[in-house]
Amino acid sequence: MIVAEQKDIAEIIPMTEGYQNILVIGCDTCVTVCLAGGAKEVAILACSLRLAARARGKKVQVDEISIERQCEKEFVDSLQSTVRGHDLLISMGCGIGVQTIAEQFPNLAVVPALNTKLLGLPERQGVWVERCQACGQCILDKTGGICPISRCSKSLLNGPCGGSQNGKCEINKEIDCGWHLIYERLKSLGRLGCLEEIMPAKDWSRSRNGGPRKVIREDMCL
């Protein structure tokens, strides 16, 4: 699932500067499930923007709607009549949603209300962890179903670095060493042989660092 998190309202308010008729569009799929851009969040954002405008002595019209999936042109097209009369669309979808809307309504300003963070799963209510980096070349078959690209902080392909200690990552002691997990899993599967195969270097177009990322919504953690 795509995990996103809402931008700080202080960042969204300036985006609406100068617009009179705003439509906040939610998405009923991934971002609803990760509690960032569903019907509930749309209502909160729309109301917040109305209040923010009035607190600044302005009056704006903010309408709200939520559609099945913003990443599908057909669903976005169904907004044709709704967007009429609006001069700004705020997408509460993931980055793809924003772009699909922008593509379908080329004459309207579209801005994002979310930061699309990662592909992951909820570890528990209110905490999401990264499990996939969409690297485009899945090797989970060789690693016992544990992804070294996302679970190893350095995305190493051929075993752990020297910093792995007691099964924990040297970047952060809270994080499990991805390669330690892979080793343990393969051992229990009786397939340690997999590790002998040397994996060729991956072609990284961009470098990255910082290890697996995490989204935590403090107010949802209970």
């Binding site: 799929t29 609803t32 499930v33 509690l35 569903g38 019907a39 209502a43 909820p122 209510q125 209970l222």
Partner: protein, 595 residues
């Protein structure tokens, strides 16, 4: 709007009391102008029998479909009014009360403020009732059977008690044999006092009963007992839990009305004991109890050391009790106190030992404990009271256990007569052949797994729910699941029996009717449901589960109405706005905010 429901507004003046505060006709006139209001009326006493009859007639005559009652607090007569409008043919939830008495006329200092405030409140109530939706009543089937997890003493006993009440118990235990041991360490003062129990007047050695006799009674009563069996899965809710049991790999689905957790607890050597190493003459209370019962000769030998003739035993209670994260109920001081008193008396009576008990406080808050304490004193047990700031010091010198004690009451007289030897502030020296220390009480093995399967907080492993006053004395966060015995911190055997019978009562009153009529307080719109599982994870009562909403259809979240307690937390958390509390919908709450 033609389709808007007709609303009847009925003002109860509380015996014309309200007329003192404002012009009731003016209030009703302004209410009559609100959209949807089809009739307004006032009455002196709506809550009386005749008032309720009047209300029913008025509803019938005016043909109104919604009712606003303006009067006193809903906490006073809401139920009565709901019943009345139901008798008048309306759904019980198509009603709103405007709390004009406790919320307006008795609040305003200035009578002039009353009318505008009353108008505002009445308007809000009219808007609210216009948005009201009927609440459905659901008949929940209540199976009169119960699953009891754990065949320790509390489990076996509650099975027998439930059987007496006509509830069909099914007892399971993860062990191959039922074990009385799991709670046998819970002591009862009356057994030794001899003024109760099965063997009146006899010194029963601290043992309450014969556990095997209880187990025999089980088979005599034909109560099913599955050993080597564990719970794999629990679905459904009170009245109809669907439980998957696993007996050594063989799975079996049972449906039960209630689940009683009697998983018990176990004793471990406490931190104090660990600190003193593995010297065989330093034992835990639990170990000492076993020796008294099963190995008296060995115990006798242990108490006779080469140098000295008399047998000296010392008990240390309290102090820095073991408080591991998973330990039950912090230090189990009461349990230890009763146990030590029992054992001290026995050691004096049977073994003629010299016994000293060192403690900061003697726990006597329990049935018969004061008598037990007195009996111990009368039997010649010595008590040393130490301030908490100066716990006793234990050392081993040439095979003798030396306990140095500061007793505040004796300190001065001893110091005066002391030989001048430096005692480091601990003037009393007890030389003991045997030293007994508190044990640590831990949840039985497997409690954590059981907790995650039942989704119920047990044994205070995560102490959050159990501390809640509204779960006292023996409820769990999940309706129909009860906790009994030492697994939720019961400290003495007598109290455990109270606990067992009280839980038996609670199970019975829940399951005594074959059907239970419950309101469907929460409704999930499956079309909107994104199946994010938020409601399932946040419902404090585990009243929501997911699966096919209708056979063969798309999956969705669904409410188990009899398990739902109507808090609305799910509706508050649902990100897709798919969950609505019938009587507190968003629109209804918004309608009250118009100021």
């Amino acid at each position: 709007m033609d389709s808007s429901p007709k609303i009847g507004v009925f003002l109860c003046t509380c015996g014309h009391m309200m007329n003192d505060y404002f012009d009731t006709r003016a209030l009703l006139a302004s209410a009559a102008k609100e959209p949807g209001v089809s009739s307004v009326d006032e009455c002196g006493f709506l809550c009386t029998k005749s008032g309720l009859e009047w209300l029913k007639i008025k509803i019938a005559r005016s043909g109104c479909e919604r009712v606003v009652i303006a009067g006193c607090s809903p906490h006073q007569h809401e139920l009565k009014f709901r019943q009345a409008i139901e008798e008048a043919g309306l759904n019980r939830s198509l009603m709103t009360i405007a709390n004009l008495r406790e919320g307006c006329v008795w609040v305003c200092r200035d009578k002039k403020e009353c009318l505008p405030k009353a108008e505002r409140m009445l308007k809000a109530a009219i808007h609210r009732v216009a948005l009201a939706k009927p609440v459905d009543m659901v008949q929940a089937r209540m199976s009169s059977s119960a699953l009891i997890i754990g065949a320790g003493e509390s489990g076996v006993r509650i099975a027998l008690e439930l059987h007496r009440l006509g509830i069909q118990p099914l007892l399971i235990d993860s062990q191959p044999r039922p074990e009385g041991e799991r709670e046998a360490f819970l002591p009862t003062p009356c057994t030794i006092l001899g003024n109760g129990g099965s063997s009146s007047g006899q010194d029963t050695g601290g043992q309450r009963h014969d556990f095997s006799a209880l187990v025999k009674e089980l088979s005599h009563k034909k109560i099913e007992l599955l050993t080597s069996t564990e719970v794999r899965e629990v679905a459904g809710g009170v009245g109809a839990f669907r439980v998957v049991l696993d007996t050594q790999g063989r799975e079996r689905l049972v449906e039960v009305g209630s689940i009683v957790v009697a998983s018990g607890s176990r004793l471990e050597d406490g931190a104090n004991l660990a600190k003193l190493g593995s010297y065989s003459r330093i034992v835990s209370l639990g170990r000492l109890q076993k020796m008294i019962e099963a190995e008296p000769e060995r115990l006798e030998r242990m108490m006779i050391t080469a140098e000295r003739r008399a047998k000296h035993v010392c008990f240390i209670l309290g102090g820095d009790g073991p408080q591991g994260e998973k330990s039950l109920v912090a230090p189990f001081v009461k349990r230890a106190s009763i146990m030590a008193l029992n054992q001290a008396i026995l050691l004096r009576r049977r073994f003629k030992a010299e016994v000293a008990i060192v403690a900061s406080d003697i726990i006597v808050c329990g049935t018969g404990l004061e008598d037990l304490y007195r009996l111990a004193r009368q039997s010649g047990v010595l008590f040393f009271r130490t301030p908490e700031s100066r716990p006793p010091q234990v050392s081993l010198e040439k095979g003798v256990i030396k306990v140095r004690v500061y007793d505040s009451a004796l300190a001065d007289c001893i110091r005066e007569s002391a030989s001048g030897e430096d005692d480091g502030g601990y003037p009393i020296l007890i030389q003991a052949d045997l030293l007994a220390l508190e044990d640590e009480v831990l949840p039985s093995l497997g409690t954590e797994t059981l907790q995650s399967i039942l989704r119920v907080d047990l044994a205070g492993i995560s102490s959050f729910y159990q501390g809640n006053i509204h779960l006292k004395p023996n409820l769990s966060n999940r309706r129909g699941v009860f906790v009994v015995g030492s697994c939720h911190g019961v400290e003495d055997g007598g109290e455990m029996l109270n606990d067992i019978r009280s839980v038996a009562m609670a199970v019975f009153s829940l399951l005594s009717r074959p059907n239970l009529a419950v309101e469907q307080k929460v409704v999930i719109n499956t079309d909107k449901c994104a199946l994010c599982l938020t409601c399932i994870r946040t419902c404090p009562h585990r009243a929501i589960e997911f699966g096919e909403v209708k056979a063969g259809q798309k999956w969705g979240a669904r409410v188990i109405p009899q398990a739902c307690q109507g808090c609305g937390i799910c509706a508050g958390e649902c990100p897709a706005k798919a969950i609505e509390m019938v009587q507190y919908s968003d629109d209804q709450i918004f309608s009250e905010l118009t100021l």
